[in-house]
Structure formats: C-alpha cells, structure tokens
C-alpha cells in the first residue's frame, strides 16, 4: 500500500538529521520519527490522498525538529537505556522450575541419607538436571536491559551442559551416600565431567552479548572496579576460589563419612565465608600499594 513511501520520508528524515554525529539516542529518535511519519502517510493514503501530498502533509504536521535534535545531540551520552522487562511467563516458569530444582535437591539429599530409595534419588537428580538446564536455556534466551539474548542453539547447548552437569552432581551425591554404588557414581562423575567440559568449551567460545550502553558504562567505571582494571587479579581470584571450593567439598565429603551429615555442612559454610572474604579482599584491596608490591 505504501511501496514508494520510504523515498521521500527517508529523504526528509535524513535531511533533518544531517550533519549530526549520530549518537544511539539520535539514531533512536530518527527511527521513531520515520516510523511515525510512515504511519501518518499510510493513514492519509488510506483516505485517498495521493502519496506526494500525503507525504507533504505529514512532514508539515511534524513541524520543526531542529531544536529537539540539537537537544538530543547535546545530551551527555548518559546512555539512552531502553529498559527491557522480563516477560511474566518467563518469571513464572523460572520460579516453577526452581521449585522442581530445589525439590530435586531435597530428594537427592534424602536418598543420600537412605531415607528414600535409590530409584527416587536417581529420578530426582535427573529431574533437577532437566529443570536446571531449562532455566539456563530460557534465561539465556531472554533479552535484558543490559544483554542481548543468546542465539537459540548456543542457549540450548548451555542448557544441555548445565543440565547434564547438575544431574551428574545429583547422581554422585546420591551414590556417595549409599556407597558402594559404583555404576551410579561412574555415570554421575562422567556426567559432571561432560557438563563441565561442555561449559568450558562454550565459555571459551563465548562472544560479547552485552549492549553498547552497558559496555560504555563499564568502560566509564573502569577506575572503580579492580577486576576489570587488572585481569591478572581476576584470574588469581578465580584460581583461589576453585582451590577454596575443592578443599571445602573434600572436607565436606570427609566429614560426612567420618562425623556424619550433622556437622559436615559446616565445611561448606566455611568455604562460602572464605569465598566472600577473598572477594572483599581482592575486589576492594585495603590499600593498592602493598598489593602492587606483592605481585611477583
């Protein structure tokens, strides 16, 4: 119905915005003006007015944009953030899946403590893995205010790796509690490994999905955040964190077998506390000078 319309509307809009350094906010405004002009022209054309007069009238009604354009161009690049709200269906399904995940973890724990049968534990581990994978998939598919959605295949692979890994963790916990359940431990450990390898591969090939404004904001704040300023510190933090958790999990397992579940969870609490202290010390160093000296 408006086949030739872009020509002169586009021309007018281009002329109005010509000579301006196109910031994202200006680009946004330009696109908005163009869409509204198009809507007006198609309405007028629908009333039987010929295209040229319709375009002329629409442009006339638009009025003078120069002041507005100057205002937007002069605006501090206080980024023009279009807030993206989570879809209600996503929020509801994530909560529902989280309940499945938590319920699965509880049943896995009960099965490990021999309160319920091995079969239930295995089922719960698989259900929890499925729920965790589904949460991962749908979360990555969401566009957020700061991030673009991940492509479907990639999101599905992330979901798969997470799900397999989580189910594996569940199987290992179930089987370790009922030692010796060698086949289940074997399958579980293999799943954990597979999931971890999958996540490593995906993480290594991950490209940027952060929106421009968020990148700009991050670049502006670079002075405050130590980890983005000093990638070596971030890497060291990661290694320390893994060490803490390996020790915590080993202590948890050892205590579980010797002292029992009544006290073994304290190992995990200690690990968590140590992680937070480490984060606080490394992300906000008490004094940056001694830290420089500590570096080899």
């Amino acid at each position: 119905m408006n086949a030739a319309e872009p020509l002169s509307i586009q021309g007018h809009v281009d002329a109005a915005f010509s000579g301006m350094r196109m910031t994202p906010a200006l680009q946004d405004l330009k696109e908005e003006v163009r869409a509204n002009l198009t809507a007006r022209v198609s309405e007028l054309a629908g009333q039987g007015i010929d295209l040229q007069s319709a375009t002329g009238q629409a442009i006339d009604e638009l009025g003078d944009l120069s002041q507005l354009i100057r205002d937007v161009a002069d605006e501090r690049p206080d980024p023009h953030i279009v807030r993206v709200r989570p879809r209600p269906s996503f929020v509801v399904s994530t909560v529902a899946l989280s309940i499945v995940l938590v319920a699965g973890a509880v049943v896995v724990g009960l099965a490990a403590g021999r309160v319920v049968g091995l079969g239930y534990g295995i089922l719960a581990a698989i259900a929890g893995g499925l729920a965790g994978g589904a949460i991962t998939f749908s979360s990555l598919r969401q566009e957020t205010t700061a991030h673009y959605p991940s492509p479907p295949t990639r999101s599905a692979l992330y979901g798969l790796a997470t799900g397999v890994g989580l189910a594996g963790v569940g199987l290992v916990v179930v089987a370790v509690g009922r030692w010796p359940d060698a086949p289940v431990v074997g399958v579980g450990a293999a799943s954990v490994l597979l999931g971890a390898l999958g996540l490593v591969a995906l993480g290594a090939s991950q490209t940027n999905r952060t929106k421009e404004w968020a990148l700009a904001a991050a670049a502006e704040q670079r002075g405050a955040d130590r980890f983005s300023q000093d990638p070596a510190a971030a890497a060291r933090f990661g290694i320390y964190l893994i060490t803490i958790w390996i020790v915590a999990i080993a202590a948890f397992l050892a205590l579980s077998f010797t002292v029992g579940f009544v006290w073994s969870w304290l190992a995990l609490v200690a690990g968590l506390a140590a992680s937070f202290i480490l984060l606080a010390r490394m992300l906000f160093p008490p004094n940056s000078q001694p830290d420089e000296a500590r570096r080899p």
Binding site: N36, A39, E43, L65, V84
Partner: protein, 124 residues
C-alpha cells in the same frame, strides 16, 4: 468565562499556551488505557480535541523524552513484522500517580479560577 487566547495570532478559541503546559499530563492520560506509539498518541489527542487543536509532533517528541527520563513512562520497540518497528510508550505506576495528582491539581485550580472569574463577572 473562557480565558482569551494568549497567542499572538489569537486565531484559536482557547489558550494554546495553557494547553501546552499540560502536554505531559495529556500524554499520560492517553497512555493510561493502552501502550501506544508516537503517531497514535498524536492522533488520539487530535481526535479528542475535535481537531480544534493540533499539538506539534515535535513538542510531543520532547514530551516523550521527558516522561521517559522522569520515569513516568517507559519506551520499547514493538515487534511489527513489516513496515518498520515502532517505538511504543507505556505508562509506569509513577506515571499514573503523577497523572492523578496533576488531575487533582488541575481540578482544584480550575475551580478556584472559575470562582474568581465569576465573582468579577458579578461585579461588572
């Protein structure tokens, strides 16, 4: 009793300035029932004034930006499959609150002005 036009042209049967001062409230009012894109908002206002008053679209764009900046409305791009995407505006809860407050203020102000003008009218 209607205040005379304060514009230089004086061609409109009402005070365009006065109306312009309430553009934000008018746009919020249009958004109360549904999310709309720029031209739709323009059209609703034009039709509601019986075509007597055509707010300039340039003014409206400035209003949209102000409303979004003040958190009274949110903007999002629609997902039209053809004919280019449109930028829609949605009123926020803050926007509804401000709208109601403005309406209350306007009603009270209008009552006072009417009363004052009526008194003058009686004296003359």
């Amino acid at each position: 009793m209607t205040p005379n036009s304060t514009t230089a042209s004086g061609s409109e049967p009402f005070a365009a300035d006065l109306l312009r001062g309430h553009t934000d409230t008018i746009v919020l009012s249009v958004l109360r029932s549904a999310d709309r894109y720029g031209y739709e908002i323009y059209k609703v206002i034009r039709d509601a004034t019986g075509g007597e008053y055509e707010i300039k679209e340039a003014t409206l764009y400035a209003t949209f930006r102000r409303l979004v900046k003040d958190g009274l409305a949110e903007a999002y791009w629609g997902d039209e499959s053809q004919g280019g995407r449109r930028k829609y505006y949605r009123i926020t809860d803050a926007g509804r609150a401000v709208f109601e407050r403005n309406v209350r203020d306007w009603t009270a102000t209008q009552r006072i002005i009417n009363r004052v003008l009526d008194v003058k009218g009686h004296i003359e």
